[in-house]
């Protein structure tokens, strides 16, 4: 009877001395692929910035000349923002006699302590921070000082943004000239 040749090897009959065709393994070395995978993974993880935009609330007062707020001199601290990230401040009201001593300058690093010190030294009802921004101060300064208020946990309603007076503008100008701020 005829028989089908089912053996592999191109029709050769298996016999002594005939070499068996080597079976190739189907296993692939996955190590480089794993390497590549993790490399890409680390790359993407590191390059992704996890920055999420946050939103800061702003409440503006109504411009109403009839409801001017009265501020106690003892509880007021005026913070002025100038150019070159400079901060100027004074307590209460500027008196012509002692103007040079009262009007002081600092930076954003120093203002935090001053805000906190004023807050601790003043009864909360009298406390008022008056923020005035110069024409040359930046948006960042305006946000930073409001942020400082939040950081120092000054309750809302105890700080306000007010326009700068001419005397203050002049004072800032002279101080800037004296300190050589461009």
């Amino acid at each position: 009877m005829a028989e089908m040749d089912t053996s592999s090897g191109g029709g050769h009959k298996k016999g002594p001395g005939v070499k068996k065709a080597k079976k190739l393994s189907t296993r692939v070395d996955l190590t480089p692929m794993v390497d590549l995978g993790f490399l890409l993974l680390t790359f993407f993880v590191f390059t992704t910035t996890m920055s999420q935009s946050t939103a800061m609330n702003m409440n503006e007062p109504k411009d109403d000349p009839n409801s001017q707020m009265k501020v106690k001199n003892s509880g007021a601290m005026t913070i002025l923002l100038g150019k070159g990230n400079q901060v100027y401040y004074y307590y209460g009201q500027l008196m012509p006699e002692t103007i040079s001593q009262d009007f002081k300058s600092t930076t954003f690093k120093g203002i935090r302590e001053l805000i906190a010190a004023k807050k601790n030294a003043t009864p909360i009802d009298d406390l008022m921070y008056i923020i005035k921004s110069d024409e040359k101060s930046t948006f960042k300064n305006a946000i930073d000082i409001l942020d400082e208020m939040t950081i120092s946990a000054v309750p809302p309603g105890h700080y306000a943004e007010v326009d700068m007076t001419d005397v203050e503008k002049m004072l800032i100008k002279t101080t800037e000239q004296a300190n050589g701020i461009q």
């Binding site: 939103a55 609330n57 007062p61 024409e135 930046t138 409001l146």
Partner: protein, 217 residues
Amino acid sequence: MPKVKIPRKSTNIDMTAMCDVAFLLLSFFILATKQKPPEVLAVKTPTSVSSTAAPEKSILITLTKDGKVFLMLGDETKKNAIIDDFNTTRGLQLTGPELARLKKSEYIGMPVNKLKSVLNMQQEVPANLMEGIPTDSSNNELAYWFRSITNAYKGEDQRKLQEMILVKGDGEALYPIFKNVKQALKANEIFKFRIVTEGETVPVGSELYKTGKTEKK
């Protein structure tokens, strides 16, 4: 004595599982990362300790470094109504195709008197060549835009509108521009709005840090 044969184990490990994990994580991170929308107006926002996330849908006022003001109307449902209202209230007499083009544009950054000519240009004007919306006190066109916006949202929840108004400014933009923007909002009885900032950790030792809570409003 017969030797005890310790079977030699192969040092080859099956890498398939590890490979699977690596690529699974890789694909997860790539898909989970939200692609930043291409920013036409490069703005580096200041930082704040605020922790509330900025809303997705917004009416965004952008202040660029060189002091230009742009307006982006992110609420698609109202965008057409706002632009139509602006067209009629300001008497721009824009034609149909011009209006369609304005509605299609991502942001508005042109003074009213130049709007028509810009819309008729063949090519789109790149953002850095746009003039921005004038905001000076004599001609605060942003205020007109906001009048149209408030008109469009009339009779709806005003709180929702307030939550949508965002001001995004470059840290180096000068203060007077921000003040003008505030004036434009105030002129339309908008007293509450939000400022887009980059998150920042609360400084250790500060009052806010001690109370152990970040701003919750």
